[in-house]
Amino acid sequence: GTAAEALVGQVVLPGDLLLLPAHYDEDAEGERLRLSAGTAPQGRLLCGPGLRRSGAGLLVTKCGLLRHRPAGGGAYWVDSQQKRYVPVKGDHVIGIVTAKAGDVFRLDVGGSEPASLSYLAFEGATKRNRPNVQVGDLIYGQFVVANKDMEPEMVCIDSSGKSSGMGIIGQDGFLFKVSLGLIRKLLAPKCEIIQELSQLYPFELVLGMNGRIWVKAKTVQQTLIIVNILEACEYMTAEQRKQALAKLSGT
């Protein structure tokens, strides 16, 4: 295998073995002696998506660019392009209600199983005050349970009981699907694409980590223009995007 630091920012393929620097091994052996460890970096190494621990190193399981974050003990992960979503705890997603089964709604989140959402998991919902959810509605929520062995469960409130933007998404608007890599790019702080689009028309935007985007602008035509630009953003470079937006704001 090759050293992990040498490959940061480069393409890695499944089967590549990454070797970690020696001081991480000392940390693993010295767990019992943690109080006396002074020079080794504090905290454990986080092994993110696309990597698995294997012996003394990390085995790459997905192809993509290797990324590293040195803060908090260090984290390595693989930035890969994917269209299929796999539920992860804590992710905010857009789900479509497919069925009501007693006290629980079944939502399609684009994974291998439908997720469940209890009717009490909305802000201000009680047994007498039920939320008005119909089959076919769009819901923006987050996962509280999402592992490979159990059915995923969603809620529309956070840990303090507030909705903080989650819940039923209003009428009208347009829902479409993009790749997961584009969503991550759009969710980065100070995303250029969103800033440029907001100068074009005012619009409402909900981004789900499962690749789904909901857009609503004043007229249907403006909504469709924004949808086309967002879909095309995946394959356009920054200059092509600026040209397209300049053409639209000019006409």
């Binding site: 393409v11 089967g15 399981t61 299929r84 291998s112 490979k148 062995d149």
Partner: protein, 187 residues
């Protein structure tokens, strides 16, 4: 070489039918469609070979009770079809982002009547050969995942073909690496 092409599509991990789902791993299914006609026994046996090869590298334990479907459509056949299917399957798995323990590639060797070894034979060379051997070779330590033979050959000849195939596998893995690099350089 260059005229055999196969189109591969991968769907999954998706919901599996109750009769087909496995409790601890993903259920992998391969469908091979020939260029003309309906799939027959030859396609079925090739599907099983591909399925067993893919199951050896896909980390199915990360997605229990799901179904992964791989559909291969033969666009043109000019020899070495099975190894073309293997390469297409590996690229589909790579592109879809499924977790893999290693990559694999397919190499076909034709053993001619005078004993020389030809790699990636054309249809004509396959017909004239004494034996045709197809190997699926993994990227980790060049281990053999699958070997299938049509015709007869001695054990020494098979060892020689295997060594030649392992050397040729490096070229295919370098091609995978270059394709992935090109794809990620655009973003």
């Amino acid at each position: 070489p260059g005229d055999t092409s196969v189109l591969a599509g991968l769907y999954g991990p998706a919901e599996a039918k109750l009769s087909k789902e496995l409790p601890d791993r993903a259920a992998l299914e391969v469908l091979l469609r020939p260029k003309v006609g309906l799939p027959g026994v030859l396609e079925r046996s090739r599907e099983q070979l591909l399925r067993q090869t893919c199951e050896a590298v896909v980390l199915g334990v990360l997605h229990p009770r799901t179904a992964i479907s791989l559909v291969l459509q033969v666009l043109s056949d000019a020899g070495s079809l099975l190894s073309c299917c293997l390469n297409a399957a590996c690229m589909a798995l790579l592109d879809a982002g499924l977790p893999l323990a290693a990559l694999f590639c397919g190499v076909t060797c034709a053993l001619q009547p005078d004993g020389t070894i030809l790699l990636d034979p054309t249809a004509r060379q396959e017909q004239e050969a004494r034996a045709i051997l197809t190997f699926a070779i993994a990227s980790s330590d060049r281990k053999v995942l699958m070997a299938t033979t049509k015709g007869s050959c001695s054990v020494e000849e098979m060892q020689q073909c295997l060594a030649a195939a392992q050397r040729a596998a490096s070229t295919v893995f370098q091609f995978y690496r270059d394709s992935v690099r090109r794809r990620y350089s655009k973003s």
